[in-house]
């Protein structure tokens, strides 16, 4: 009888203990979120109110591309940003006052190199001397370069034309550029609208994109607990995506205002999981070496990305 009483006591104590944090006012944090299905875990967590149990009031600031999100975070508009590792790599040369908290999605097929379909057989050197449209200092630029290099092109063999992501499609159609390096869902939209007029180069394996949570070095220290809780909510969201993919897609489709087929286009390329692996550091270093070697940046030595990674919140979240 005594044992039963003790167990009941412990259960009630833990029940009250679990309820206790709700008394404090929720902590407000802003996350600059790229309007791409890659941000699905954040959107799902926000829509399903998965941040609430952790007493977090999360506001998502929608921006077109991780490079803009990163800027918003640096400018203090947002506390946290979603960025591809390429954006982080480029910014790593400029500053060291930010920290990479975790990678929450990966895709090896998010970037596409598109050109107008001239029904001609494709050759390795077809793009020699051509103008390629891309977004500066982003995954778009690295992917285009990596693609061209692997295809046997030299840096001087093609011309980079930098523009905003939304301007790339119209520039290709207008003939201002010969090819564009673009991420989803812009690639899908272009192919959907113009069908056979667009040709997509096979680029699988050339680039592995990861989308990451980045915050300022100061915030990483100040809000470690909150960041761990955000990651816990993202983990719940990822579980929801894996267990109820159709519901998840519906939520994303409604939130980003994109059609289901558009979402389906790239959905299967995404791997939603929380990580901060050495392969990400290797990827960052490889891209940094490319940036130096290609003259994309002025620096001669790549930054030490290990210092820009802060896995304390992730460890805390995964041990939960």
């Amino acid at each position: 009888m005594l044992l039963v009483l003790a167990l009941t006591g412990l259960l009630s104590v833990s029940w009250w203990g679990g309820k206790a944090p709700a008394i404090e006012p929720p902590i407000k944090l802003k996350i600059a979120t790229s309007t791409t299905p890659l941000s699905a875990p954040l959107i799902i967590a926000r829509e399903l109110e998965l941040f609430k149990p952790y007493n977090l009031d999360i506001e998502l600031i929608p921006l077109r591309g991780g490079h803009l999100c990163f800027q918003a975070m640096i400018q203090g508009v947002a506390d946290i940003a979603t960025s591809s590792e390429s954006v982080i790599m480029f910014n790593g040369f400029e500053r060291s006052d930010f920290r990479l908290l975790a990678s929450f999605v990966e895709s090896d097929n998010d970037l596409k190199l598109l050109t107008l379909n001239d029904k001609q057989p494709r050759s390795m050197t077809q793009l020699n001397g051509k103008k390629i449209g891309m977004v500066k200092a982003s995954a778009s630029e690295f992917f285009a370069d990596a693609f061209m290099i692997i295809r046997g092109h030299q840096q001087q063999n093609f011309h980079k034309v930098f523009m905003s992501p939304q301007a790339l499609g119209p520039a290709l159609l207008a003939g201002d550029v010969d090819a564009i390096s673009i991420w989803e869902p812009f690639g899908y939209k272009l192919i959907e609208e113009h069908g056979d007029a667009i040709y997509q180069y096979p680029g699988k394996g050339i680039y592995n994109l990861s989308f990451n949570l980045v915050t300022s070095a100061v915030n990483a220290k100040l809000h470690q607990q909150q960041h761990a809780n955000i990651l816990r909510a993202l983990k719940s969201a990822q579980n929801f995506i894996n267990q109820h993919p159709e519901n998840a897609k519906q939520i994303i489709s409604d939130y980003l205002n994109i059609s289901q087929p558009e979402l389906e286009w790239a959905w299967n390329d995404y791997v939603f999981r929380l990580s901060l692996n050495n392969s990400l550091i290797s990827n960052l270093h490889a891209q940094a070496r490319w940036a130096i070697a290609s003259g994309t940046v002025d620096a001669q030595v790549p930054p030490d990305f290990r210092l820009l990674l802060d896995d304390s919140a992730l460890k805390q979240a995964l041990d939960y």
Binding site: L3, I149, G205, I206, V271, R273, S282, W290
Partner: protein
Amino acid sequence: MMINTRLKLLLFISLFLTTTILLTFAGLKHIQQDNLRQLSSIMELESNIDILRSRLWALQEFQDPEVLIQTLNAHQELKQKLAKAQFLAPSTKILTTNLNRQADSLAALLELTQQHLSSTPQRGITSARGMLTTRFNITIQSMSEDLTSLQRQVIDSLAEQQSQILSSTILFLLAGSIISLLFTISTLKAFRESLHPMKQGIKRLSQGDLDGNIKVVHHNELAILAQKFNAMTQKLKETTIRKEALQSEVQSQTKQLKRQTQKLKYVAEHDDLTGLYSRSAFERQIDTAIARCQRTQMHAAMLFIDLDKFKQVNDSLGHDNGDKVLSTAARRIQSAVRSSDICGRLGGDEFVVWLEPINDIAEVSIVIDKIIAQVSPPIVCGRTSVSLTVSIGVAMYPGDELTRLNLIKIADDNMYQAKKISGNSHRFSDTIAQQVEKSEVD
């Protein structure tokens, strides 16, 4: 609840707990086997990735078609292993998907490598070979990391499953044991509470107390037994009451019978009219007295008394007055002798008296005188009165005779001799008379 039902329930709970333990062990063994299979599968995958890594290194170093074939074979083998690999934990699905995706990336990269085999070898990341090497390295590294994560998740999943099974089993066993314990205590309590009044009841009954019923506390086998016992005690009580009543009735009847027997004996032994011994009873008394005198060497005397002219009284005054005269005479004769002496009526107006003990003949004479004196006063019969005279014959024991019959005969004979004399008279045998005379002379 019946004790039998309680014991059956306890047996059921015990069997249930034992089955739970057996199932837990079976479950744990199954999990362990699954875990071994999954871990062995992961190790095979790790080995395949290692082989592929070394092939890729050789390929990047030597750009040889033969190495390319080896690399493609290694890649193919890895793909087959990945296709076969099955992991149970749901969280491993992402990792296996990613491993397959990366294997596909490697396939695409290998195809691109094939196209560059003939080109001029260049180094550095801005060269195709350099970029491919980087991509190969990063992909292989990522695959190794995913395999490590996979391994950890399989182990974590196993640990979680084991922990869940163990904790639920412990909780289950704990709850079962507590229920079993409480049930046993309750059964024991019920048994004790039922048994104690039983013992008390049996003890009371053994001491003869038929009034104490056993109080039924619980509804079980002992309660049924107690109810039967109570019914039995009640029956026993009723039977005992009947037996006692019967005994009392028998005792009362026996008492009455004894009284009647005594009365009958009295009636049989005594004369209706006078209340003296009847002839037969007197004879028995005399036989006993003679035997006693023989034994004690005592002397005794038999007086044969006859009322003179009684027939005339009877005839003149009627039988009623005759009877009154007889009963009065009998009462007076009895009052003249000692209570130890025996008086009897032989019939009609003949009375006999046995005097015992007698020290000498003079004592007999004194008694005879006393009898004559007692009988002599007139008896009132209506308006007249009757004055009686008696003739007394004496026979002495052992002087005259030793047997009853002869003693009576001698006394009777002596009475006839006395009758010859008018008025009150008595007569001894001649030998006795001589002794009397002699003693008077002496």
